[in-house]
C-alpha cells in the first residue's frame, strides 16, 4: 500500500515529541550547522514539509566504530531523526531486514529513487586481487559500491576508512584499501573523517542534507567546513599553555596534573582539523586532550603513517606552516621543517578571543531562540 511518507515533524509528533521539542531541535541544529539565527525558520519549514530522504548505508573494510559513534549521538531527538525519520532503507547494522531481502529493498530504492537517494559508506574498499579481501553475499565490495554510487544523489564517506583509507591503508596496505573518493566519480562526495567522527558531526551532516536539500559547504578535501575548518590546536582549551611555553614533559608529571599542553609528549592537534575542541565527545563530556592524551590526528589522511604518535611534532610534515603563520610557540620556534605536504590548505589561525566569541555567539543564538518560542 502506497502511503504518503510522513514529514519529519509529523514523525516526531507521532513519537511523542512536542512542538516545543521540535523547535528546540531545530535551534540546536542551526547552532551545530553554524547558520545564523535567522536561518532557524528555514530549518523548521524544511522539517515540517520534507518527506523522508531515502538513505542506504554500506559497510566494507571497517570496525563499525562509525555506526557505534552514530548511535552515541547525544540528543535523543537527533538519534531518533536519523534512525527513524530518514528512510534508512538499507544498513547492515541497524535494520532488521537484511540479506537477500535487504538487497531487494536496496535495489528497489536504487530503482525507485534513482538519482535521489543518499548513499552512506562506512569502510574502505579493497582493490588488490580483484577485491577478494571483502565480499558480502558473494560479491566484492568494489562491485557493490560502483553499482550503488551510479544512482546516488550524493555520497557520504563516513569516518577515516571511507574518506582516507584509514588503518588498513596504512603501510604496506596489504589489501589495497582505497577511499571512496578514489573509486567513484560523477557524484558529489562528502568526506566526514575521524576514527570515528563525533556522533553529532555525523548526525549534523545528515540533517544538513535533509534540512536544506543541499550539500554543506565543503573544504578542499571535501569535508564539511562547519566541522573541519578549525584545527584542534586552535580550539584547544589548553592552547594558552602552549602559547606560554608550558608543557607536559612526561605523562602524569606535575605539569600533566595541571593540564599543561601535551605537545611535547606527542599531540597532533596542530595539524588536525576536527571539531573535538569545540563540540567534545559524548555529549560534551571530554575529548582526548582534556583526558590527558595527545590528539592522534585520527581525522587526517595517513595519520597512521605520520607517527610514532608520541614523537615530538617538530619533525612532522606541515608543521612549519603553522609556526611561521602563527609566529608563536617558544619551543616550536626551532622546528624549521619544510615540506608543505599534507596541509596545503592550512587555514589562518584564529586568535583565541575570536574563537571564544564565535562559540559565545552560537550559544546566544540558541538561548535567544529558546526565549523566543
Amino acid at each position: 500500500m502506497e502511503q504518503k511518507p510522513l514529514t519529519i515533524y509529523e514523525n516526531m509528533e507521532l513519537n511523542g515529541y512536542s512542538r516545543r521539542d521540535f523547535l528546540k531541535f531545530c535551534s540546536w541544529l542551526a547552532a551545530y550547522i553554524g547558520i545564523e539565527s535567522s536561518g532557524v525558520g528555514k530549518i523548521v519549514k524544511a522539517m515540517e514539509t520534507k518527506p523522508r530522504l531515502p538513505v542506504v548505508w554500506f559497510h566494507f573494510q571497517e570496525c563499525t566504530c562509525c555506526s557505534e559513534s552514530f548511535i552515541r549521538s547525544s540528543h535523543p531527538i537527533v538519534s531518533d531523526i536519523v534512525l527513524d525519520k530518514i528512510s534508512l532503507d538499507y544498513t547492515e547494522t541497524l535494520q532488521a531486514a537484511a540479506g537477500h531481502q535487504a538487497e531487494e529493498v536496496l535495489h528497489n530504492t536504487m530503482k525507485k529513487y534513482k538519482g535521489e537517494y543518499l548513499m552512506l559508506v562506512e569502510g574502505s574498499v579493497p582493490t588488490e586481487d580483484d577485491g577478494i579481501y571483502c565480499c558480502i553475499g558473494g560479491r566484492t565490495a568494489l562491485d557493490i559500491v560502483q553499482e550503488a554510487a551510479a544512482g546516488a544523489k550524493a555520497v557520504v564517506a563516513w569516518g577515516s576508512c571511507a574518506s582516507n583509507g584509514c588503518i588498513q591503508a596504512a603501510k604496506p596496505n596489504p589489501t589495497g584499501a582505497t577511499p571512496i573518493k578514489n573509486i567513484i566519480s560523477g557524484v558529489p562526495i562528502i568526506n566526514v573523517p575521524g576514527c570515528p567522527p563525533i556522533g553529532e558531526v555525523m548526525a549534523g551532516t545528515i540533517v544538513h542534507l535533509l534540512a536544506f536539500d543541499r550539500i554543506p559547504q565543503l573544504d578542499g578535501l571535501g569535508r564539511p567546513k562547519a566541522f573541519y575548518s578549525r584545527r584542534v590546536h586552535d580550539t584547544c582549551y589548553r592552547r594558552p599553555n602552549y602559547d606560554a611555553g608550558l608543557f607536559v614533559e612526561s605523562f602524569d608529571d606535575e605539569n600533566a596534573k595541571r593540564g599543561y599542553c601535551l605537545y611535547k609528549v606527542g599531540c597532533r592537534g596542530p595539524v588536525t582539523y576536527n571539531a573535538c575542541g569545540v563540540m567534545r565527545w559524548n555529549d560534551g563530556v571530554s575529548y582526548p586532550i582534556q583526558s590527558g592524551h595527545g590528539c592522534i590526528g585520527c581525522s587526517e589522511a595517513n595519520f597512521w603513517d605520520n607517527g610514532p604518535f608520541y614523537q615530538h611534532l617538530s619533525s612532522f610534515p606541515g608543521f612549519g606552516i603553522e609556526t611561521t603563520a602563527d609566529d608563536i610557540g617558544v619551543i616550536v620556534g626551532a622546528a624549521t621543517v619544510a615540506g608543505m605536504a599534507a596541509h596545503a590548505i592550512s587555514t589562518n589561525i584564529r586568535k583565541r578571543s575570536q574563537i571564544r566569541e564565535g562559540i559565545k555567539e552560537s550559544i546566544e543564538e540558541v538561548n535567544n531562540d529558546k526565549g523566543g518560542e
Binding site: 502511503q3 547492515e92 532488521a96 540479506g99 531481502q101 579481501y133 558480502i136 582526548p288 604518535f309
Partner: protein, 573 residues
C-alpha cells in the same frame, strides 16, 4: 529428504564479515561451515612500528567492543618490557572494562538478540493493564504504569500502520517458535527503546578517562588521565562523581530492567536449555585484576580451561607455552612457510594471504578446501568455546562463591538442572549473570580508586621504561584479557625498539573459525549441529544460536537450495 544448503551472508556488526553455510535435513541442521569474508592484514601493518603505538592500531580491530584490543595491546607491551603499572591505572582500566561490558551486554540483549525471542507485532495485542501488572511484579523500575505501556502501544500501532516498519521490517513476526504472551512482548519492546537511550550514557566513563568513545585512549605504562583533586584539568572530585553517578545508574538499569527481563523471558524458552550446546571445552584467560595484572590468582574472572564439561577440574592456561595455543590454516586463505597442516604459536605466527576461494560473485564456498579469512586456533589441539558461558563455568569450577551462588540461585529459580547451562539459553543467561557481578565489582573498583586518592596516591603512569633506549634488544610478550565475546590475547616480538611480529587471536577466531586439519569443528559450527528448524523458510532457530555467541550482528541470511538457487531470505535483528 534431500538436505537443504542454507547460506547466511552477511552476518554483520563484527570486525569483518561473517558467512555461515548449513545443511538442513529432516528438520535439523546436519552440517555447518563458518567463514570470515573480509580481511585487513593488521599483523602486516603493525610490523616495524613503535610498540607503544600498537594499542591504537589494534583498538581499530573492533569498534563495537572498543577498548578491549587496546587493553590487550598495552598489556602485551608491558609484559614484554617488564612494566608494572600503578594500582590506580589498573583500577581505571578495570572501570573502563566494566563500562564496556555493561554497555555491550545490554545492547546485545536488546538490540541484537531479543528479537529472536520477542515478537514485536504480538505486542500490539497486549493489554496495557496486564502488562503493567506483570512489569511491576518482576521489577521496581518506575516506568511501568498502564499509561506508559498504552502510550507506547499507541505509538507502536501508529508506526506499524504507517506501513513503514523501519528497522523492524520483515522479521519473523508470528513464527511458531515465538512463545511469549503479548504483554511480555510489549515489555520487551519498551525496554528495547529504553536501552537504546541508556547505552550512550554508560560509555561516558570511557570519555572521562580516555577522552572519547568509541576508541578511547590507552597508554603503555598506565592510564593517560592524571589525578589532581585540586585542578579542573585532571581527574578531580567532579569527574569522579560523574563516574560514580554513571555506575549507579548502570547498576540500577541492569538490576531493574535487563535481569528481570531475562528472567521473565527464560521460562517460556526452557527447551533452549537443551539446544545449541556444541563444544564441551571452554577457555578463559581471565581478567579484572584485584592485585595487579601479574597476580592471576586474584582476578575476578579466573583463568583456566574446562574439558568435557567436567566442572571438577580447571586446567591451567599459559599463553607463553608454545605448545598450548596454536593457529592452523588448513581451511584458511593463508599459507605457512612450512606447509598447510602445521600449527603455529602466535609468537611464531605468519600472515601471508593465499586466496583460493571462488571468484566473486559466487554462490557457495568450497568448504572442502580453504573457506575463511579466519585462522583456526586450538588449545592443546582442542577446539574451545570462549565467552560469557566459558567465564561463568570456569569461575564456578574455580570455586568463586559469588558466581556459584548466582548460578545455583538462577537454576533453582528457573527449575532447570546444571546441564541446561551448556546451551543456547545457558550462553544468553550467563551473559546476564556476569553483568550483575560486573555492575557490583565496578562499584568496588570505584571505591578503591577513591580510597587510594584519599590516601595520597595519585599515580597513574610508570615512566621507568617509557624511553625505548631502556628496552632490551629483543623482547617477547603476551597480553591477555576477556572481551565481552570471550578470550582475547595479543602476542608481540620486539626487536631493536620496533615491532618484529604481532599477532592477535580474537574471540571470534576461537568461536567462528573454520575446521582444523583433522576436520574438527569450532564453536559456531559445532553448536548448530542438531538445531531444529521448524520452518526451513524461516530458520529463526539458527539465528538464536548464532546470536547467543554475540557475534554482534544484524543478521542476514540467504537460503539457497543445493543448486544455488535462491530459496528464501532470513532476516532478524
Amino acid at each position: 529428504m534431500m538436505a537443504n544448503r542454507i547460506v547466511i551472508d552477511p552476518i554483520t556488526r563484527i570486525e569483518g564479515h561473517l558467512r555461515i553455510e548449513v545443511q538442513v535435513q529432516n528438520g535439523k541442521v546436519v552440517d555447518a561451515y563458518s567463514s570470515g569474508t573480509m580481511v585487513r592484514g593488521f599483523e602486516l601493518i603493525l610490523k616495524g612500528r613503535d610498540p607503544r603505538d600498537a594499542w591504537a592500531f589494534t583498538e581499530r580491530a573492533c569498534g563495537v567492543c572498543t577498548t578491549v584490543h587496546a587493553l590487550a595491546s598495552v598489556r602485551t607491551v608491558e609484559d614484554a618490557l617488564g612494566i608494572v603499572i600503578p594500582p590506580n591505572a589498573e583500577l581505571v582500566r578495570n572501570l573502563m572494562f566494566c563500562a564496556q561490558y555493561m554497555q555491550d551486554h545490554v545492547v546485545h540483549f536488546y538490540h541484537l538478540h531479543a528479537l529472536d525471542w520477542v515478537d514485536i507485532v504480538s505486542a500490539l495485542k497486549a493489554n496495557p493493564n496486564e502488562t503493567s501488572r506483570i512489569a511491576q511484579s518482576i521489577s521496581n523500575y518506575p516506568k511501568s504504569s498502564p499509561k506508559y505501556f498504552s502510550d507506547l502501544q499507541k505509538k507502536l500501532t501508529a508506526f506499524v500502520n504507517s506501513g513503514q516498519l523501519g528497522i523492524f521490517a520483515n522479521g519473523y513476526w508470528g513464527h511458531s517458535a515465538y512463545k511469549l504472551p503479548p504483554e511480555v512482548n510489549l515489555i520487551g519492546v519498551a525496554h528495547y527503546l529504553e536501552a537504546l537511550e541508556w547505552q550512550k550514557e554508560i560509555v561516558k566513563i570511557h570519555t572521562i578517562f580516555g577522552g572519547k568513545n568509541p576508541h578511547p585512549n590507552y597508554l603503555v605504562g598506565g592510564a593517560p588521565c592524571s589525578v589532581n583533586i585540586d585542578d579542573a584539568n585532571a581527574i578531580n572530585a567532579e569527574r569522579l562523581a560523574y563516574v560514580g553517578t554513571l555506575l549507579k545508574e548502570a547498576k540500577t538499569f541492569i538490576e531493574q530492567v535487563y535481569i528481570p527481563d531475562l528472567l521473565a523471558v527464560a521460562p517460556y524458552y526452557l527447551d533452549w536449555g537443551g539446544i545449541g550446546g556444541g563444544l564441551e571445552n571452554y577457555l578463559v584467560y581471565g581478567d579484572l585484576p584485584t592485585n595487579g595484572y601479574g597476580d592471576v590468582g586474584k582476578f575476578k574472572f579466573p583463568r583456566g580451561a574446562i574439558l568435557g564439561r567436567d566442572l571438577s577440574k580447571v586446567h591451567e592456561v599459559d599463553g607463553k607455552d608454545i605448545k598450548q595455543i596454536q593457529e592452523y590454516i588448513s581451511h584458511s586463505w593463508y599459507e605457512y612457510s612450512d606447509g598447510n597442516e602445521t600449527g603455529k604459536h602466535p609468537w611464531d605466527g605468519e600472515t601471508k594471504f593465499n586466496y583460493t576461494g571462488p571468484k566473486p560473485p559466487y554462490d557457495f564456498l568450497n568448504v572442502k578446501e580453504k573457506y575463511s579469512w579466519l585462522k583456526t586456533p586450538r588449545w592443546n589441539g582442542k577446539a574451545m568455546e570462549v565467552g560469557p558461558l566459558a567465564r561463568v563455568l570456569v569461575a564456578y569450577a574455580s570455586g568463586s562463591k559469588e558466581v556459584q551462588e548466582l548460578v545455583n540461585g538462577t537454576l533453582k529459580a528457573l527449575k532447570v538442572p546444571v546441564g541446561a547451562l551448556f546451551s543456547t539459553l545457558g550462553r544468553t543467561a550467563a551473559r546476564g549473570l556476569e553483568t550483575i557481578l560486573i555492575s557490583q565489582w565496578a562499584m568496588e573498583f570505584y571505591d578503591q580508586l577513591i580510597s587510594h586518592i584519599k590516601n595520597g596516591d595519585s599515580r597513574m603512569f610508570d615512566n621507568s621504561k617509557w624511553d625505548p633506549s631502556t628496552w632490551p634488544k629483543e623482547a617477547k610478550g603476551v597480553g591477555m584479557t576477556e572481551a565481552p565475546r570471550g578470550a582475547l590475547a595479543h602476542w608481540i616480538v620486539i626487536k631493536d625498539e620496533k615491532i618484529d611480529n604481532y599477532q592477535l587471536v580474537v574471540p571470534s577466531t576461537w568461536n567462528a573459525s573454520p575446521r582444523d586439519p583433522s576436520g574438527g569443528m569450532s564453536a559456531y559450527e559445532s553448536s548448530l549441529i542438531g538445531t531444529p528448524i521448524a520452518d526451513p523458510e524461516k530458520p529463526l532457530e539458527v539465528l538464536r544460536t548464532i546470536h547467543s555467541f554475540d557475534p554482534c550482528i544484524a543478521c542476514a541470511v540467504h537460503l539457497y537450495d543445493e543448486k544455488g538457487t535462491y530459496v528464501h531470505q532470513v532476516q532478524t535483528f
